[in-house]
Symmetry: C2
Subunit: 313 residues, 2 copies
């Protein structure tokens, strides 16, 4: 399954994101060391790999075989000694992450890539207490990392171009689709887009146009389906008939801009929050959280596999 050289990869943190990375890296042939402060880390990680491995899109690896390449290493310095890649998944606390990266900078070999799953912090900040932060990058996955292909890669002005290239190669070889941001921006790309759509979704529910459940049904039955197969620009290109994007932008651009001015600017006051929560409870409150998560991941894997089969058939 691997298309890259097997590496020694240290995963720091054994929460949802960390465990997804562990499973993915193992499935792509890497040796994985897990470093975590959880007291029950060894049995937890082994159990998670057994649970998550069957969910890997397109792959049905034997969990027992994967677990042979897994090692739990509670000591941080020992965990990164000789590692090719470190992927850290600690809480979004700048102080703690800066401290962690300072230790990593001292403990890891000079070629080791130091990657962070952070969704909010930039590599400049992460590496601020390091003598040489040139191999610190953000590699922000979408949850769960073993299913959803995207990883947003963010470098800094001080990043070594070779480290950036190695990071991209490493992720691609591990089955991910890495997209390198050309400049840093708060919240990166996917979460900003998600936030823009959520803002209008909340506006429409607040205005009483649709309920939470109806809004979700609109999306899965139209734009969600479409955006699983092609992005918004290509969709837009094909949405207006012959003439495509050029026709849209040159003859209908004013209407597009006017539409933006009419979009909602909801306020998340107490009434809005209670309205959303009551409707969300009606929509999916009767389902257990872990069952909804399992369903999401199963359906996402289903879509990915179907699309890959269709593209290669």
């Amino acid at each position: 399954m691997s298309t890259t050289t097997p590496r020694v990869v240290t995963v720091i943190g054994a929460g949802t994101i960390g465990l997804g990375w562990v499973t993915l890296f193992l499935a792509h042939g890497h040796r994985v060391r897990v470093n975590s402060t959880r007291p029950d880390v060894e049995p937890s990680v082994r159990e998670a790999v057994r649970l998550l491995a069957p969910g890997l899109p397109g792959a049905h690896p034997d969990p027992a075989e994967l677990l042979e390449r897994l090692e739990v290493v509670p000591d941080l310095e020992r965990a990164v000694d000789g590692a090719d890649v470190v992927q850290e998944n600690t809480p979004e606390n700048l102080e703690l992450k800066q401290e962690l990266f300072a230790r990593l900078g001292k403990a890891a070999a000079p070629h080791t890539l130091l990657l962070s799953s952070t969704s909010t912090l930039l590599p400049e900040a992460l590496g601020a207490r390091m003598a040489d932060p040139s191999r610190v990058l953000v590699g922000h996955p979408f949850n769960p990392p073993h299913v959803v292909p995207l990883v947003e890669v963010v470098a800094a002005a001080h990043t070594d171009p070779a480290a950036l290239q190695s990071t991209v190669d490493f992720y691609r070889g591990s089955g991910k689709v890495p997209i390198v941001l050309r400049k840093p921006i708060a919240a990166f790309v996917a979460n900003r887009l998600q936030s823009a759509l959520l803002q209008e979704s909340i506006h429409l529910v607040r205005e009483g146009v649709v309920t939470v459940e109806e809004l979700d049904a609109v999306v899965t039955n139209s734009i969600g389906l479409r955006w699983a197969t092609m992005g918004p620009f290509q969709s837009f290109h094909l949405g207006g008939g012959l003439g495509g994007l050029r026709k849209w932008l040159t003859t209908l651009g004013a209407g597009l801009q006017k539409g933006w001015e009419g979009l909602g600017r909801p306020v998340l006051d107490e009434d809005t929050i209670e309205l959303l929560l009551a409707q969300a409870d009606d929509a999916f409150g009767a389902h257990r959280y872990d069952e909804l998560v399992a369903r999401r991941d199963r359906l996402q894997r289903t879509v990915l596999e179907a699309l890959r089969d269709a593209e290669t058939s």
Copy 2:
């Protein structure tokens, strides 16, 4: 395949949307009359049904069998005489549509549902010149109607509740997922959400964070995949771990609102349009328009079929 009583359905207009409706309605057992001003309408419609029928999700009807229930009726009054449902797909011109609906109101039997595919006009406006507009509704499909499940149903204050219910039943029985808007709003729901995401997409390209091609890849490999399987609210509920939507909205609501304030407000000036067009040309300019459309529809059908299989297995 049909779960509804077969009806006589008159489709007015034989462009992309009209032809998609024709194929869908035929596949669900209805008798379909096509009314169009196109001179070549008879051979065009028959050719379109042959081309589109194999693309119907989950169905593989024999086009020859479908065509037995198709009739081209160039005279409008004759086309709607005895019809149970009219679905009109004429250009987005209020004057012309008002004139059309006035004629339909006189020509159609009192029980006939008068439905418009319009993406911009409200039923009040469409029926403004009719003596009795109580059975005029918007039934706005997503392109192409024979593949994408959503139809947004918009009623007016004067709409007969029985006509609304019949409309919903008719669409549901024809394989669609009808969502009734609880109040009218400009551009309806799906296109407003699409517009919100497109606004931020254009901002990110304009700012040089990603290219058109990279933006599209981010979406298909993350939020598009996700929103094909569940809507934004349920995604959000599952995105923050245990505690779900309540935790997000009550403890992180301020951050969410702050994120909205940082979203882009791009201007569609000439430089922006040229930048988008040049990058779009790099991304998909080498592909023929009709091939991209065919690929989109094939992949959308693939996703729908895979999800339906997964949900029923």
